[in-house]
Assembly symmetry: C2
Homo-oligomer: 121 residues x 2
């Protein structure tokens, strides 16, 4: 469950909207990645080989769906961050965020609410 950067960008576009054709994907990605249509097709072919996406024929072309799920990547990336930089513990991560002033008052309120809801369970 590992994907090079370029392919991940394509998968993310599919998470945002699926299915899409190679051409639609090229346009959807144009803002961040100025890729030729052929480039996107190559990436899609590699992703098919990995099983990261699937496709179905739609007339003359293919439509692509994500297979690998966003949630899986999210979980994996979060765990990796925790393990490599925070000794696998959540509190140091949150402490770091606070020291970077990444926490707004709204964030703090939302966090309190989350904490309250867990206590109740």
């Amino acid at each position: 469950m590992e994907l090079p950067d370029a392919e991940l960008a394509v998968l993310e576009a599919l998470w945002r909207d699926a299915p899409q054709s190679a051409e639609q994907l090229t346009m959807a990605l144009a803002a961040t990645r100025a890729w030729k249509l052929n480039t996107v097709k190559t990436l899609l072919a590699r992703m098919l080989a990995r099983g990261a996406v699937r496709h179905e024929k739609d007339g003359r072309r293919f439509l692509y769906w994500p297979v690998w799920e966003r949630r899986t990547f999210l979980t994996q990336a979060t765990r990796q961050l925790l393990d490599s930089f925070f000794g696998g513990k959540v509190t140091p991560l949150v402490a770091h965020l606070s020291s970077q002033r990444k926490l707004s008052a709204a964030d703090r309120r939302a966090l309190r609410e989350l904490l309250d809801s867990w206590e109740q369970r």
Copy 2:
């Protein structure tokens, strides 16, 4: 400020303990990466070229120090995770952690204390 995986492993070893010689690093990394001494030397040479580490002659050999700091990587990695998966907001990240049952009672208590200390400021 980007580093391939293998080089990052070397830098992490230097964060744990510096300075170290190429040979010491090879041994320190042996548990996780069974690299030959020459491999570690190649990695160190590339890291010197990037400016990620520096070295000083110690008799016949070199001792290596980290230049790029752990804190920088930590901040960068955290921001990247937040931006790519949680819309840049902290609360959804914490919500995800809780849904994964990654939060112990101790974590929750520590979080509450952090929140309290911020409110006071």
